[in-house]
Structures are given as C-alpha cells and as structure tokens.
Symmetry: C2
C-alpha cells in the first residue's frame, strides 16, 4: 500500500466544514458528535505529546521512531497514533522500513476556528 487514502478513516474534507464557531449557535447532536471526536483525540496526555512531537517536527512530519519516547510501551504508542489517525488529525505513510506521520492542517484549522470564536465571546 503506497497510499493512505484507501483507509476508511475520517477524511479532512468530511470534517473540516463540520464546525460553526462555538458561539454562533448551539451545536446540533451530529455536529457535536464529529467535533467531540477530534477533541477527545487530543484529550489524552500521551496522544497530545505524540501529536505535538509530530507537529513540531521538521515539515510537520515525523517517523514513529523519532517520537516514541513518551514513557509508554511501543504497542501503546502505536495504539495512540492509530486513534489520532482515526480522528483525522494525522495521516501516515510507510517509506521503506519506517512509517511517517504527518499533521492534517485543515482539521486543525477547523478546530482552531471553533475555539477562536468562543474565546472572543467574553
């Protein structure tokens, strides 16, 4: 598999326009379901560190071997990276021996817009 698009994950196009600013109107149940998945993905300390490690790496992309030092076992790291992928926050690609994860910018932009609106509310 040379392409990650065949995986049945959340696609950026599907989640990016999901979220009106939190202050605009009460979220519907469906909107909340989608948006909560993204927040939940960042709601674990280990996942947040892994995500930050990828995001802060050169080019917004990192090999698993570069970010695995977060104090948990290798299977646990793999499990968390999978969760981040399922939430649409990361994508992965195998290049030879190593697997590289990269941040999904459109989804983050959507989340940032969500919160930026709420912050200026009061």
């Amino acid at each position: 598999m040379s392409n990650a698009k065949v995986l049945p994950l959340l696609e950026p196009e599907a989640v990016a326009p999901c979220c009106p600013p939190l202050t605009e109107r009460p979220m519907s149940a469906d909107e909340a379901e989608v948006a909560a998945k993204m927040f939940k993905a960042l709601g674990d300390p280990v996942r947040l560190r892994l995500f930050s490690a990828v995001a802060s790496h050169e080019g917004g992309e990192a090999c698993v071997c570069d970010i695995s030092d977060v104090g948990v076992s290798q299977p646990t790291v793999s499990h968390h990276l999978k969760k981040l992928k399922e939430a649409g926050l990361l994508s992965s690609e195998r290049r030879g021996t190593w697997v590289y994860y990269r941040v999904e910018p459109s989804v983050l932009a959507a989340m940032g817009a969500l919160l930026a609106g709420a912050a200026k509310a009061a």
Copy 2:
C-alpha cells in the same frame, strides 16, 4: 456562595500560560497533562453541546434551564456541567432559583492559540 473563586478548581491564571503552540516544540509530560484535561472536557458530544449552548447564549452566559435539552437526564446534565467547571471552561453562579453558567475566555484563548499554531504548520 456568591463567588466561584473559592472552589478548588483550575483557575484561568493557572492554565492559560501552560501551553506553547503545539508546533513550537514537543510538549513535556507536565504540559500535556494540563492541556489534555481541557481537550478531554470538550471530548464528549453532550458536553460540547452544553458548552456551545452557553457560549452562544446572550452574553456568554445561560441558565441551566435554558440548555438542558440535550437528550440526557437532568443528573447527567448536571454532571457534565460540573466537569466543564472542573476543567476551567465554565464558571457558575446561583441567582435566586436558577444557576447560571458562563464561559471562561482566557482558557479558551489558550486552547485556540495552541491549535492556531498547529494549523499554520503545514
């Protein structure tokens, strides 16, 4: 109690400066612990709807009675509002018969800054 500051909750001053942009450098374990608590609070669909209902209400403040129609029981609503309060995202005040919840802007600003940085990374 006419003042919410006496409660042993996360104070805005304590969490606001916790978070460098996600892309700046890998988060430390301590930073991730604090930041993950905020994301986790918004990582539930019901809580996200409750928060959005408060944030979108006039003045960023709403009575519980105005936002309780989210499809779960009254104790569950109360439980989720408590969680949001413990995460520092909402504050509450009793005024006569009703209890009003209001958004805590500084914490949201911190979260927004976190994500805004990550969005522009790639």
